[in-house]
Symmetry: C2
Subunit: 188 residues, 2 copies
DNA sequence: TCTTTTATGTACCGATCTGTTCAGTTTTGC
DNA sequence: GCAAAACTGAACAGATCGGTACATAAAAGA
């Protein structure tokens, strides 16, 4: 197992960055909590920014895998599959370690559109949008692109609401809204 | 005009924090860009965190004033007033200086629920939710609280989408979704 | 005008930041 | 079992962090 230390670092750093933030987490804090020496960290990653980018790529992969795996396992017909998005969201929100969306936070801390972390974050959302549109197409709605965009707005809004705690059940409110939007498109 | 320097500092710091982020902006950078000496800054605010909190309070006040002033000036009937929310949002998104929601970003950088900046950010959203619910009640929908929550999800989602650039017209998508949700509640 | 308040500039403090150096230890492949 | 690769620990560099000290200058109130 050659690249194990590198993977271990990315995995552990992801948890810490997610919990404490990117700027707020120093390399020394990573050393203390991961048990991996600073020398090794800078051997695998030239800069902290490089590590952050690797963490974001890892997060993108694991999050989408987890999310769509959940949807696949439910094995639902297209319309129910679209709605199940918000059930999976609720599961996520109820995890004790839930702290909002890592990519929203990354784009908040690295606002320059040229910044690789910002670009990677936008790419994550773009991939989700594409997946949503495919699901909307399979459901046979009249305007799948618009529906996908609207469901994505509900999803992002629900994440923000869950993180900031201004709604008791954002996933539920989003799901009932999604039901209305889907039904309206199927009837027209 | 006694407290003019203090107000000037809050006003200018708000622009800089909004543009560059809280952690990423050092006090020396504020000195350089505002032209106000560091001695004066720390005479008015004991710590940087105190300044940040004052900035967030100022932003909360000015943003809500601007937002609802825009709605008031349109002088629309209840249903149109609810929809106009998303027209005002689009105006905001199209401003060159638009960089997302300052409170979403603040809660991303200060994640501790005990942190005053986090609390202030959540309070801002709570105030918006209350205002939305009152507007929904005036529109005579069957479930004004649910509708207000759903419109708020659309609004927050649209802000995130506009900031991260994964939707060409988030305000438009949100508005059409809002139309469907409002109509559905008025028919039932 | 004289006094009090308010703001400035600069130098400085200790802590922390990212990143490096280097000598020694552990692990791995053969 | 031996050489090469990977990892460690600790010290260190230079910059920057939030925040202070202090002496001077501007400004405002009486």
């Amino acid at each position: 197992m050659r690249p194990s230390k590198r993977d271990e670092l990315v995995r552990k750093a992801q948890v810490i960055f997610y919990r404490d933030g990117f700027h707020a987490t120093g390399m020394d804090a990573l050393v203390a909590e991961t048990g991996i020496s600073k020398t090794t960290m800078f051997k695998h990653f030239r800069t902290k920014d490089d590590l952050i980018l690797a963490v974001l790529r890892y997060r993108d992969e694991t999050f989408r895998n987890w999310f769509f795996r959940k949807l696949d396992d439910a094995a639902l017909p297209p319309r129910q599959r679209l709605l199940a998005v918000f059930d999976v969201l609720r599961e996520w929100f109820e995890e004790p370690a839930f702290k909002g969306c890592m990519f929203i936070k990354a784009s908040a801390e690295f606002q320059d559109p040229q910044n690789p972390a910002y670009i990677q974050s936008a790419e994550h959302k773009r991939l989700l949008k594409t997946a949503f549109r495919e699901m909307a197409e399979e459901a046979g709605v009249s305007n799948p692109d618009l529906l996908a965009r609207q469901l994505l707005l509900l999803k992002e809004g629900a994440i923000v609401a869950a993180h900031m705690g201004f709604d008791p059940d954002p996933a539920g409110a989003a799901k009932t809204a999604a039901e209305v939007l889907i039904t309206a498109q199927l009837e027209s």
